[in-house]
Symmetry: C2
Subunit: 250 residues, 2 copies
DNA sequence: ACAAAAGTGTTCTTGATACACCCATGG
DNA sequence: CCATGGGTGTATCAAGAACACTTTTGT
């Protein structure tokens, strides 16, 4: 029941006073991932005040009175990174965290989002983006609030999404090699993949990637130049590309 | 950033007045499904007041100051159905809907949940459960607020979850036949399945179901009595049980 | 005897896995 | 010429799809 009052079930609070209750603050928290140099990185900000002063935290902020959580998330992402209109940037709602004690100051309900950032563009620093920084996912100590859990949930979600969607291209620049795409999978999953099979799988999925006609690029300085690809129009991946040795994940 | 104020990014509102903003109401909405007599049914309540007076709506209500959204959802479910401690009942967070105009009276952010109810126990009526009723999913007209969308999202989620979890047993009574389990899949997905293959698939997944030793039951009055099964301990389904002709779902 | 529902077996095809192997480029 | 990374081919195996068939009950 959405209605705050006068709901047809008799359990909603009586009266219709907007201010009758201790107010809830509604915020968004963002788990922004990127893959750079073969490592998984997360965008974090350092807290200046108590509680958790000096700790790292997920970027985020209030949902303003006239915007949805999605709009707030996009706005915050732009403010933290200083980047607007990143092509191929993916942002999706993760879940909502509402435990009463999660912020010691007041009741804060946060809608968490997971975002995939392509490599390269403007990591941090410039402009009004205060001190947002990319940190290695594996080297992240305890975060403020319940952000460790949010980050873990986001990581699991991103890993799962790579299996059955074409989302991995959101981690890549507009043009990329199949080796780079494979590195995205290997970095997020933390497991090596068989190159020939990965290649077949990707190319056999219509609309996953499309080749840039004549282009080629040298990847590591050495070796044969690799063909370049762009993201195709497909979003789903059928059949899925499963993580190796996947037993009993809920 | 969870902090309402003094956050390390400069974008959070200044000051630390809990009442400085138009307050957000936080509610939960429940999409409760069951499979009865080969049809998919949804628990709905009829609204008594404006807006949307006389329309059907998802059951739900406020998140109280000292409970999480999950606790509120369990409480509302118990209140609407009059049932507590239903074994095998499954409830999970779906997503949060926060568009500013979704309730015309005030700003209401709702955390939506999807629940699977086993067949049979206490449909409605008794006790304080006002007028919650089971309606056929296929015969549901336009609902109040944005509940059509929430219900559609919940249905899609439930359908997807049947593919890769053992969740279907949550639709069944404690003891059930494989034919009944198959009917759950067919009802939710709306597609017929091959019985021999379904059977093999279910039995080949360790921990999905376990047979009740000597028991058997006559299903439709005629035919061979079917063996009875209980839900096993497993939660995940590897490899998944995919919907037929599944092309291009995001 | 027949219908209806449970349960078993078999074939065919697809997709995943694990390799071996060739190609192009820089040092 | 060799190390490095890109790209191709192939044999093997497990899983899913389709369907024929048997068994047990009620009418």
């Amino acid at each position: 029941m959405t209605a705050p009052v006068g709901a047809s079930n008799g359990n909603a609070p009586e009266g219709y006073d907007k201010y009758a209750y201790e107010p809830f603050a509604v915020t968004v928290d963002l788990a922004v991932f990127t893959v750079r140099a073969g490592t998984l990185q997360v965008l974090l900000v350092e807290r200046g005040q108590e509680p958790y002063a000096g700790r790292w935290a997920l970027p985020g902020g209030f949902v303003l009175p006239d915007e949805s959580a999605e709009e707030a998330a996009w706005r915050e992402l732009a403010e933290e990174t200083g980047v607007t209109d990143v092509p191929g940037l993916h942002l999706e709602q993760l879940r909502t965290y509402s435990e009463p004690g999660r912020d010691p100051r007041m009741r804060v309900v946060t809608v968490a989002f997971a975002a995939l950032f392509p490599d390269a563009p403007v990591p941090h620093g410039g402009g009004d983006a205060a001190q947002a920084q990319w940190l290695r996912f594996n080297a992240i100590g305890p975060l403020a609030f319940d952000h460790d859990r949010i980050l873990a949930d986001a990581h699991e979600r991103v890993g799962a999404k790579l299996e059955y969607t074409c989302l991995a291209t959101s981690f890549c620049p507009p043009e990329f090699t199949l080796g780079e795409l494979q590195q995205v999978y290997e970095t997020v999953w933390g497991t090596p993949l068989d190159r020939p099979n990965f290649r077949r799988k990707v190319l056999a999925t219509p609309g996953f990637v499309e080749q840039v006609p004549g282009a080629a690029r040298l990847t590591g300085g050495r070796g044969k130049p690799a063909a370049l690809y762009r993201a195709g129009g497909a979003t789903a991946l059928h059949p899925p590309l499963l993580r190796p040795t996947t037993e009993g994940r809920p």
